[in-house]
């Protein structure tokens, strides 16, 4: 690539926003380039000429840069490589940094030589709907063909590639609140932000460009007889001095939601590339809650269509103005501008100042004389009543043809060749009403400006100002911005009075109305290579729109789906209105009658990293640690996640397998004494004179008879009669109980109690308070447990007479206040000792020093399963009643409680529901898979009759074999039967149905 020959020499125009003192090297498709600080990737590349840097989606035609901002349909690139890589970024919005590396996305093997260009030559057989007609229609075998060809079609049509390595970067999230959120920092937005800030409001001004200014960044406008950017600088200074104004550049609002909630993505480290300072996040997702919003989102210029209007070097007219004025780049030596409105004249004048010969084809028979005279004086060749008919050249603009254009876009008379290597087209302006559309604003057709504008959303706290309303003059933008900012601040309660600034603008004499031109048709050179594109990103042509009309896809929504018009990363920002207007031409309707599609978030694509934010790695989800966590971690604990809790699953000794550790822990509890950290169990203090009434209503069993100092097991059901939690509740004093819940349901049960107390039974005098974390709990279990606890420094009498099974005692242990429950989940004599959390480590160490073996959750599971004790969530799944589990003993017949009524439903009352049973594999070495389906006949042809599933399954050191618990249809009446449990891969294991209790069936050990 030769040098940046299209960068204007330093003294041609003011240098705009680039810094020639700060050159930046970068690479594109492996070649080296140099740009300047202040460039975008697009402007830096255009300094080397309007060469092809992309291939089109369907026909793989060479494409160049078309726009200068979010509207860009062509110049999508893959930025960087590896985990940092991002696909499909618009080169027009990538801020240049030193060392940047980017590549084309849709070319194979390269942009210069793309094999898929064959699609372009074959295009007569690829009309809209080709794939569906060919592969998915009703023809014989059509579906099979689609399956065969789809991978190739998808690859041929692909955009960028997803990164293949984990994203190494950091992403942040920020919640913000303000009185007035102003979106867009052009003249209207700045004016609005100033007005709101002057009234004392909390203001956030957001803009997606690298710096505020909007259209003024082109550098050719004047306010108060000085460069308009001076006014921008002064406005920013005043906002900086305001107490509560925040200006966020490089920040694109992605979506607006109910109650004026907005999301926006700020580029932070992103603009430095992979070498960004380590402490900076790449992107920051802003979540802004605004009382009022002002949309000053401006407008996107639209082109009109003509033959080969996609040839590199063909651009939006106003984009040419911005590249010239803002970046000192004009990617051509001779320019042709085509317009149907006034705005191209500023481009023409700026190019003329830069010494570029310009031909301006104005479709209007009588261009506004003031503008035309000024242009002619500057040396511009103004051709009235003319439009561009075709561009010549393939990989670059080599010339063009213009001709006299009739109102319907037909060319009459002879075409005239124009020498040009740069073509700008200005077909009018489409207000950027996307964000208003997110809030449900109906696009309203504005006939005078021939564009859709958002309707009034003031009632929702949303105002519009500037070009988004269809406003054309700088004075109107400033005025509307001021009014919207003032009114928004007032609506947000900021009543300080302000004075309206009186600003002089350079709008000049009144121009002439637009003469809407959608597509120039008629005689086209080069016949079949003369495609006229409506949607550049999706390769939708004028002919495709006509085809859709002929095939009766006339609704704007059908037009979109049939032709793909307006889809893709640009969502038709330059294409939609031309497409629907052409549909109107084809079907004899006005654009207003055709209507427009609406827009959903996001406005521009949002990287997943920004959405994930801080929720990744070690900080993905909160972690909860018990007071004894450090001991566990230092002593070989393998942790298991139980909800957010880290619980020791087992403690591995040096060289020990996990299975051996579990076996050792189980044997220790059965033969000596074990200690388990049970601090995670939910604990709820219940106080008040009506606690027993509450317990009677939420538990299935009876609580009238529970005496002070005693504890009782209870089951809780939902209204549907299904078990949702279980646990032991103890009576500490006459009006003071403590309820324990499962680890996972601690918060749910408290909320459940509060829900009933607050909404249904407010008359009950009960206070429920979570004390889960106030206490550390160590469960000591085993035949040696009594000897061990008796050795603790304590005032509690641990003897069986003084402290029997299912009793509770308070006292001191190690000098700390303690609550001790004599309850057993292991089947052994067992004490749950609760001390204040900060004393937990000392208690634990004392028990270890006394000789207890620490055991984890898996040993606990084995121990309890041997006893047939259920775990809620393992033996239950929300479809299981107490009777299903054979726990009718825990159900009172004398009272009413939540869930009872549901048991009279036929389905819950039938006798052959699934019952909890035990299973003993015929091969005692086989551990049945948990979740395994139970069948009577594993050879049965599908559909196989399912009888139930295995809920818990272990190898038992105590039983010298494996065993399982299961929910089995009509299980209690199948005792002794042989059933089969399907393996996860193939085959089945036979097992005998037994009662769900395997060890110490009369419970003598835990009472002893």
């Amino acid at each position: 690539m030769s040098g940046p020959q299209f960068r204007l020499p330093a003294d041609t125009l003011p240098d705009g926003r680039i810094d020639r003192e700060a050159p930046l090297g970068f690479s594109f498709n492996g070649e080296s380039f140099t740009g300047y600080a202040g460039d975008t990737l697009a402007s830096a590349l255009l300094a080397y000429g309007a060469f092809p840097l992309a291939r089109s989606f369907k026909y793989h035609r060479p494409r160049g840069i078309f726009g200068a901002g979010a509207e860009e349909p062509n110049a999508l690139v893959q930025l960087e490589t590896g985990g940092y890589s991002q696909p499909n970024l618009r080169a027009t919005q990538i801020e240049l940094y030193g060392g940047l590396s980017a590549a084309s996305v849709n070319a194979w093997p390269s942009v210069d030589f793309d094999l898929m260009r064959v699609n372009d030559w074959l295009s007569p057989i690829f009309p809209s709907g080709f794939y569906y007609k060919t592969f998915m229609g009703a023809g014989v075998g059509a579906g099979r063909w689609w399956r065969l060809f789809e991978p190739f079609i998808r690859r041929a049509a692909g955009f960028g590639r997803a990164p293949t390595a984990p994203d190494p970067d950091r992403y942040e999230r920020m919640n913000a609140h303000c009185d007035v959120l102003v979106v867009g920092a052009g003249p209207a937005g700045l004016s609005a932000a100033l007005a709101a800030a002057n009234r004392g409001g909390r203001v956030i001004l957001v803009d997606d460009q690298t710096e505020p200014g909007g259209d003024l960044l082109a550098g050719d406008r004047r306010i108060d007889d000085a460069p308009a950017m001076d006014w921008v600088a002064a406005a920013l200074e005043r906002l900086g001095a305001a107490p509560d104004a925040t200006v966020l550049a490089r920040t694109a609002v992605a979506g607006l939601y109910d109650d004026n909630f907005a999301t926006a993505v700020e580029s932070v480290g992103d603009r430095f590339g992979p070498g960004a300072p380590d402490h900076l996040p790449r992107l920051r997702l802003w979540r802004i809650r605004a009382r009022q919003i002002v949309l000053a989102t401006g407008a996107h210029e639209r082109p009109y269509a003509f033959a080969n209007n996609d040839t590199p070097g063909t651009m939006l007219g106003n984009a040419i103005r911005h590249y010239a004025g803002r970046y000192a780049v004009v990617p051509g030596r001779q320019a042709l501008l085509g317009t149907d409105n006034d705005s191209a004249y500023r481009t023409a004048l700026l190019l003329a100042r830069a010494g570029i010969p310009v031909t301006l084809a104005d479709a209007r028979e009588t261009p506004p004389s003031a503008l035309a005279d000024a242009a002619r004086q500057a040396g511009v060749d103004v051709e009235a009543g003319c439009a561009i008919s075709a561009v010549l050249g393939d990989r670059r603009v080599r010339g063009a043809k213009i001709g006299r254009v009739l109102p319907d876009g037909e060319i009459s008379g002879a075409l005239r060749p124009v020498e040009a290597d740069l073509v700008g087209v200005s077909g009018g302006w489409n207000p950027a009403l996307h964000l208003a559309s997110h809030r449900g604003a109906r696009p309203v057709w504005n006939e005078a400006q021939t564009c859709f504008v958002p309707d009034d959303l003031t009632a929702l706290g949303l105002r519009t100002a500037g070009a988004v309303t269809g406003a054309g003059s700088l004075a109107d933008c400033l005025e509307q911005g001021y009014a919207a900012g003032r009114d928004a601040a007032r609506a947000a309660g900021r009543t300080k009075r302000t004075r309206k600034p009186d600003l002089k603008t350079d709008d000049g004499a009144a121009g002439a109305p637009i003469r809407p031109l959608w597509a120039v048709t008629g005689r086209q050179p080069g016949s079949r290579r003369g495609k006229a594109f409506v949607d550049l990103q999706n390769d939708v042509t004028v002919k495709d729109v006509a085809l859709a009309a002929r095939e009766n896809y006339r609704s704007v929504e059908h037009l979109k789906r049939y032709t793909t018009l307006g889809m893709g990363t640009d969502q038709g920002k330059t294409a939609n209105v031309i497409g629907l207007a052409l549909m109107g031409v084809e079907t004899g309707r006005s654009p207003e009658a055709v209507g427009t599609t609406t827009f959903r978030p996001p406005y521009t694509p949002v990287p997943f990293g920004a959405l994930a934010g801080r929720d990744r790695g070690a900080l993905f989800d909160p972690v909860r640690e018990t007071p004894m966590f450090d001991w566990h971690a230092a002593n070989g604990a393998v942790f298991e996640d139980v909800g957010q809790w880290k619980r020791p699953y087992a403690y591995r000794r040096d060289g020990e397998s996990l299975e051996a550790a579990i076996g050792r822990e189980v044997r220790a509890v059965r033969n000596a004494a074990g200690v388990m950290d049970a601090s995670t169990l939910g604990k709820i203090d219940l106080k008040g004179p009506d606690v027993v009434t509450l317990l009677n209503r939420v538990y299935t069993n009876d609580w009238e008879t529970l005496k002070v100092g005693r504890a009782r097991y209870g089951l809780m059901c939902h209204e549907d009669g299904m078990i949702f939690d279980d646990g032991v509740t103890a009576r500490l004093a006459d009006d003071h109980y403590v309820m324990t819940t499962t680890t996972g349901n601690a918060v749910t049960v408290l909320n459940w109690l509060e829900m009933w107390l607050q909404t249904e039974w407010p008359e009950l005098r009960v206070f429920a308070t979570s004390v889960t974390e106030a206490w550390a709990t160590a469960t000591v279990a085993g035949p040696e447990a009594r000897r061990l606890v008796s050795g603790l420094d304590s005032d509690i009498d641990w003897s069986d007479d003084a402290f029997p099974h299912m009793a509770v005692r308070t006292g001191t242990v190690l000098g700390a206040p303690a609550r001790v429950f004599r309850v057993s989940f292991s089947g052994e004599a067992s004490w749950e000792i609760n001390v204040p959390a900060h004393c937990g480590p000392a208690l634990w160490q004392a028990l270890i020093d006394g000789g207890a073996t620490p055991y984890g959750t898996e040993a606990m599971h084995v121990l309890r399963a041997e006893k047939g004790f259920i775990i809620v969530g393992q033996e239950t799944d929300g479809t299981v009643t107490p009777h299903d589990l054979g726990m009718g003993w825990a159900v009172s017949k004398r009272k009413d409680f939540i869930g009872k009524r549901s048991w009279s439903r036929p389905d819950t009352a039938r006798p052959d529901r699934k019952h909890l049973v035990g299973l003993l594999p015929l091969d005692s070495g086989t551990v049945l898979p948990e979740g395994g389906q139970i069948v009577a006949d594993p050879e049965q042809e599908p559909p196989v009759t399912m009888l139930g599933h295995v809920t818990s399954s272990y190898k038992s050191p105590s039983l010298d074999g494996s065993f399982a618990l299961a929910l089995l249809k009509n299980g209690r009446n199948r005792m002794g039967d042989t059933v089969h449990v399907l393996r996860l891969d193939e085959g089945a294991d036979a097992a005998r149905v037994v009662a769900p209790a395997f060890y110490d069936k009369d419970g003598g050990r835990m009472r002893g």
């Binding site: 920020m174 919640n175 979540r287 809650r289 909860r624 957010q644 004392a846």
Partner: protein, 206 residues
């Protein structure tokens, strides 16, 4: 054997985890692990009963919901219409309140060990908290005396501004089990501004 009278603290020195200083400006955010708390949970449906219970020993009266009042080092947080937390400077008044009749109009429960406080101060303190808190922490919306029980990401916290001051300093109460996670989270979130960590270094509540 460990001495049970030496209280353990999840945020005690030394603490494995993030470095004690990091980022461009170590004064931008200062995280301080608070001492063990003396904390009571108070439930009551009759505010007058609560006020009369607290008036004599502590000279405190209930603030509106989402506000806190302090007097002589004791702070009363109003978390809900019938829900308060009382943070006491010393153990003694708390013990006296805990002797209240469980069948009486005020439910008093000792939750001292269930919660810990983390101080978040410095010029960027608000920005760090705003990364997860959706409550508006601007001084206009969250003046001194504000106390919001809220979700901080997926962690339940009480964020309070107990004292006037510029820049505002925040007091974040978090459950004991989540304290280390939150500590690490805050340090990580403060990295882009810079931070100093001050883990707990002994000395408990009286």
């Amino acid at each position: 054997m460990a001495d049970p009278l030496v209280p353990t603290h999840p945020l005690a020195d030394p603490l494995s985890g993030p470095p004690e200083e990091a980022g461009p400006d170590s004064a931008a955010v200062v995280l301080t692990a608070g001492p063990p708390l003396v904390l009571l949970d108070l439930r009551c449906r009759d505010r007058a009963a609560l006020d009369s219970l607290l008036k004599k020993p502590l000279e405190l009266a209930s603030p509106p919901v989402a506000r806190a009042v302090s007097k002589s080092g004791n702070t009363l947080f109003r978390l809900g219409p019938d829900w308060w937390q009382l943070r006491c400077k010393k153990r003694k008044p708390a013990d006296r309140l805990l002797r209240a009749d469980p069948a009486g109009p005020v439910g008093v429960t000792d939750i001292s060990d269930a919660w810990l406080a983390i101080g978040v101060a410095g010029p960027r303190a608000r920005d760090v908290l705003a990364k997860a808190a959706t409550v508006d922490l601007h001084p206009d919306a969250f003046p001194a005396g504000s106390a919001a029980r809220t979700l901080f990401g997926r962690v339940t916290v009480v964020i309070a501004r107990l004292e006037d001051g510029e820049p505002p300093a925040f007091d974040v109460t978090v459950s004991r089990s989540n304290a280390r996670f939150l500590w690490r989270w805050l340090a990580d979130a403060a990295r882009e501004y810079g931070y100093t960590l001050k883990p707990f270094s002994g000395g408990g509540a009286g």
